[in-house]
Amino acid sequence: MKLFIRYLNLMVVTIFILLLFSFILPFLFPGDLLTNISGISPQSNEQRIALEQVYKLDQSIFHQFAFYIESLLDGNWGVSTSDQSNLLHELLLAFPATLELVAYALLIAVVIGIPVGFLSGLKNHNPLDFSVVTFSIVGYSFPVVWLALIFITIFCLQFQWLPISGRIDLLFDVPTETGFILIDIARSGISNKADAYLDALHHLILPTASVAIVTTALFIRFTRRSIMDVMEKDYIIAAKSRGFTQRQIFFKHGLKNALLPILPLLVLQISTLITNVMIIETIFSWPGIGRWLIQAIYQQDYPAIRIGMLVVSLCVMALTITIEFITRAMNPARERAESATV
């Protein structure tokens, strides 16, 4: 219970600091402060004064901060300078697309990465282990950008099996409700649903693959190293001496003790995974938050950057802290400081 309270206040402190940082950002951005906050560039002087009234720029910093929090809570997140579109609406469309890619890549990394890592860790020094190690070292030292380009040249241009850009062929007019393409198709009333599914899958294969390979390689490396360490521990030898089979030992003792120390490291990989997804989005023009933020940079659309940064870092922060809390709660023996080095 003490652990829960400690993590709760950590969460609150981090959220507060993030809010504070995103509040300060417009003051740091170049250009006129009012445009950076509101997104509307005042044409005339009296419009400027009216806007300052609305955004309480004339009052003290604390009022502004209070107003900022209040406007965040009741949903008017401001307007983007480039095309005056409502930021909340844009984010609701963009963020689920990124989450979708991250989720599928993470799924692949966990479903394939961890078992293969265990397998090669257990059956050490044989051809399977050697090939897995080479794949993993090559995998995580591949720059994601180049991997995507190679996939495009091979699968899209050479064999023309897979499409290059977007989440679905634009000719399928799928209204976006949840933002997750597969669910949207299911709920949309379009006629050729089967075609739409097939096409959405086609658009999904390349981006997910190019992101998943790097993360799976990292997962393999961590799990393999961890299981090899655990297998040499005394309690494993003691279990062997009690005559359990290799598989029993692995499932009863090896699995849990191998996973617990590396969970914080796997969580760290989620943040690198999100960076990779944001980069991949620009290449495959996947309408996610990464592409949206980078377009915002090119168009110097500061309100968008501010809100985008806030949303993404809040989600990542919340995710990492909850997973850290779960691992800490699950693992009784772990003292506070000890966690496996890479």
Binding site: I164, L170, D195, R247, Q248, Q295
Partner: protein, 544 residues
Amino acid sequence: MALRRSTFKSGLCVMMITAISTTLLGCAKPSLNNINAMTYCSESNPGSFNPQLDTSSTTADASAHQIYDRLLEFNPSNGLIEPGLASSWLVSADGLTYTFQLRSGVEFHNTSYFSPSRTFNADDVVFSIDRWRDKSHPYHHVNGGSYPYFDSLRLDERIKSVERINGYRVEITLYIPDSSFLANLATDFSVILSEEYAIELMTNGRPADLDRFPIGTGPYKFREFRQNQHIRFERHEDYFLPTTGPQQLVFDITNKGSLRMAKLITGECDAVAFPSQSDLAVIQEREELTLLQKPGLNIGFWAFNASKAPFDNPKVRRALALAIDKTSLLDAVYLGQATRAKSLVPSASWAYQSTAKELGYNPVRARELLDEADVPNDFTMNIWAMPVQRAYNPNAMKMAQLMKSYLADVGVNVNIVSYDWNIFRENLRLGMHDSVLIGWNADNGDPDNFYRPLLTCEAIPSGTNRAMWCNPEYDELIEQALLTDDFALRTAFYHQANKLLFEQMPLVPIAHAFQYQAIRADIENMEVNPFGGIRFDSVTRTKK
């Protein structure tokens, strides 16, 4: 214990099956082209959906030909003026009054955000023209209030009055005769809006939506626009001309030229805007792609900001012009696909002057001129290279880098500046540049469409005069050229203007490029429009 062993093994083979099935899935490429729809890869976001408000051809592509109609139209093959919404027109003897007989039974778009109650009539024409002509018009200051094309031509001062004679007849009177007036009414910018929609929006207090959710009489209705992603159009079923165009039209916004080319190859786009020069050979090789080309009515130039020292001194401008080797630029950037530009007007126009004088490549003379104008040896200037591709300049960034090395030979350091396209044009209008690599696509066959918007004094506030160069003698010549209809007399005036431009050299004409259109092989009767822009209303797809 046996149970545990089997789960481990079965887990493994389930994974194998999913992996294999996904790759198999990859092969069965869904055949999309049976749906009567078409995708066009455009190069950037349109500024707005009303071409009156900005001259960028991206906006014109996304709106002018698809959503709106004009009183008069250009015939793409011979460039002559043909009836559009106006079925016939009468010009008075003194050339001051024009009366237009309008077509009846033309339906406006019926969309989710507006359903028209009446068909097109004279009120719409009066509303559309008065909006940019009359400063006191309620809609004049909506969405910025600047109409670059019309401001640069000072058309609002030339038109005395626009009256509605009866439901289907409009009469426009001018102060002084203007032979290019009809041509200007046929350009992409003079579109006909819906007055009824404007009134409805004004009553609802949302006037700005007129240019963001457009309503027109054109072949396609506007459905949806997602910034940086796509624009969706739907065919206007009761369009007054017979159309065989696709049921659904999607503009897929792709900034990078190479990505557009890749999408063309994989079939995700049926037509591509501004293919890059280096890929033209690739398109001709592949049999599933075809390349349409036509000598374009455009010009790519290097404009100096004449309002800024030291570029206000003609000697400096002449020296810089001498310092660059145009032939190598043509080879490297246009890969020989363009003709060398001597003056503003390309050979396709009747006012073309083949004997126009031209500066060669003479770095030594350039250095002498720079010393005479006491420009220091390590003088630094910036060249603004436009980020998007255009027929008249397929790769401004590459051209800037080439010029940088030439200018370095004469002791001039260059740093290359580029922004996002909408911000780039906004900063150009404010004159923040030293020099800029840009160009101009003609909108009608009239040479005045080159001389007036590019270099006259009135064109400076509207932002089309990139050189910020104001010369009363030059303006006088252009005015006189407009007073007569006789081609020979107008050509003489334009030749004098060319001589003046050669001496002052506000901008260095570089090339007149071909107009290209890259499309999939199964797309038929798509025409290349010499004035740029793309039309889909007559395009069909052959069933394979």
